[in-house]
Symmetry: C2
């Protein structure tokens, strides 16, 4: 039941007519009063208007509601787009009888078109009227774009609950967060703890997803803690549960990558530190040649070596060892003997794991990547 | 007639059996004695053994010969690969009766497999025996990998000649140079002038080519000046001619991009300086979503905006204007009215030009990019 599983949160998903199809396209997640909140947003310099506004509204570390729309990213829309994001927050605040700065907004869809703010203003009263503790799935559906399935996750802690929803299928190479996600909990956690924990968890989950190497203008993850369970959780447990939820949502997005066929788990070890390990893994999975070889089930470690060397981080080109599905194919940057027909047979069967040890330190990271498919190209070539 | 057009240079292309097909795979370009030389090489940290050796051999700014093989990149080959590169230079030096450090080596092909040095050592005497001023095309053919055509260019200056050959069809996103190119001239030019001019010319030609966003381990451009014409050229004219040759070879590679269907000329203007303009253009054409839209003939400027914002350079997200084939689609980062059906019709027809003005300064660059096609993915998914 995703974002409504935690006590103190309701949600709604309605059709505001932003999508021509008439599908659900406006979601609201709301608490009964302002609660502790934290967010991580895209680092893209072309950040969309809702990202700019939500960042601003989170300065006081609290929020009562998040309004999310699909069908339009409200990016590349200039001053009119900023006014539309603000009008969305104002209208929701009016209906919820809270301050405008207690409303966060998020948008996803094509970049460029104007946000049809009239539709949103008209639909918001109905959406807020429809808020219920049953509508978590409808909210998750209302933020879908090219996603083929809605993405939700829930976990129970010691007397409290953490749940969330997310969307994302392309233009997903998060650099702070992923396309859109809202996570709620009824644990009582200070904003300071939320902030620190969300940052750590986001770095090892959403920020380790790479569907297509294209960082988005609209990435936003919001975490809300109502405290309604009355439980002040053990923060280590809370962080572990939050990581569980965020990783679950991350993997759901990876599995739903646009027209992709495989999820590749790339474990990078032996980097100078964890951040460098993550950058090495991201750079490798940015490469079209690497992702084409994933599609073909080809243990083409030379392309990983070439990609690693092209990045803006320190890599020793002589100490890279690589294995595919547990079979070592290169040691210290030199190919080793292995049973190639047997490995090709294994790799022909869906998802697989690649382990890369760069041999220079203790840093590690796991990247969740997709293969590059002809279908992805055809799908994204279509003028909208 | 490429590299043999300039007086003082001979070339050869033979089959050494490196390629299983028996096609030409070993080329030699040689002068009669050591001549002024300059080179630019990949910045990839995983640079191949021949790149490391040639960089070393160019420390004295002279060379007599370049030995190039296709069929194997001699990258990811460790100490054995370094020994093989050196053995190649030693054998050629022995046959040419010159110093080992006067021989440059270059390799291209798959990364990982061991260079069959016995084949090269055995074939080198025949290749050097076959050196002639007629064999420019055979040499250009002997460096082809997935190239479908050989790439040569010649231009005449005031009493001297500049000519060159190149290869490159994938893993081409040069960061100093392109896959392989050798340019020769019989003008008398000091190594200091060669160095400065080649760097400037390389930056605006080879380094502005982006076939697939994947920087290679083996990029190398070598420029040799025999002085045999007796002409000390006007350096401005020489630079202009060298740019002509390098741009010609660059465009030949763009047109031969693996399974690509279009060459897109992306003009970036209004950046803080030319280097930033080049980085903006490269980052835009790295994007799979941008290159998929090129394939579809879709004027999807929002993807250009998103890509620009994701880079590690200063871009003002409010001042980006974009036109496709002369039709403005966005001004100051906001979509404008345009005749979309008419523009889609124009873009459906092959190559086109995209102009991006980022509105912050006077810097400019032109990037030559390819579309991303389903065929590219299928081609590169095939286990070799």
């Amino acid at each position: 039941m995703s974002v409504v599983a935690a006590a103190g949160f309701k949600a709604a998903g309605v059709s505001a007519g932003i999508k021509a199809s008439g599908a659900l396209d406006l979601a609201v997640v709301a608490a009964a009063h302002p609660v502790a909140a934290s967010g991580i947003f895209t680092r893209n310099r072309s950040a969309a208007a809702p990202v700019l506004l939500s960042r601003h509204h989170l300065r006081d570390h609290q929020a009562q509601a998040v309004v999310l729309n699909s069908g339009c990213a409200n990016a590349g829309t200039g001053a009119a787009g900023e006014a539309a994001a603000l009008a969305t927050a104002q209208k929701a605040a009016e209906e919820l009888a809270c301050g405008t700065s207690d409303v966060l907004v998020a948008s996803t869809g094509p970049i460029g078109p104007r946000l049809p703010i009239e539709n949103i203003v008209e639909a918001l009263p109905d959406a807020i009227e429809a808020l219920s503790s049953e509508a978590g799935t409808r909210a998750a559906e209302a933020i879908m774009t090219t996603d083929t399935v809605s993405k939700e996750a829930v976990v129970e802690g010691s007397g409290y609950v953490v749940g969330g929803m997310a969307k994302g299928a392309a233009m997903v190479r998060p650099d702070m967060a992923t396309m859109l996600a809202v996570v709620t909990t009824d644990a009582a956690v200070s904003w300071q703890a939320l902030e620190a924990i969300l940052r750590r968890v986001g770095d090892s989950t959403f920020n380790c997803l790479n569907i297509d190497g294209c960082p988005s203008t609209n990435d936003a993850v919001v975490l809300l803690a109502s405290g309604e369970s009355g439980v002040r959780p053990d923060l280590d447990e809370f962080e572990q549960l939050l990581r569980h939820i965020c990783l679950d949502l991350t993997l759901q997005m990876a599995r739903d990558g646009e027209m992709t066929e495989r999820v590749i788990t790339l474990n990078v070890r032996g980097a100078l530190n964890d951040a460098i390990a993550r950058e090495i893994g991201r750079t490798m999975t940015d490469s079209d040649l690497v992702r084409s070889s994933f599609y073909g089930g080809d243990p083409n470690w030379g392309r990983l070596l070439a990609a690693a060397g092209a990045g803006a981080f320190p890599v020793n080109p002589r100490t890279v060892s690589v294995s595919y599905s547990g079979v070592e194919v290169a040691r210290n940057s030199v190919q080793v003997e292995y049973d190639r027909p047997a490995l090709l047979a294994v790799l022909s069967e869906g998802d697989f794991t690649v382990n890369v040890d760069v041999g220079t330190g203790e840093g590690q990271a796991t990247i969740y990547a997709c293969d590059l498919t002809p279908g992805y190209v055809t799908f994204n070539a279509e003028p909208s």
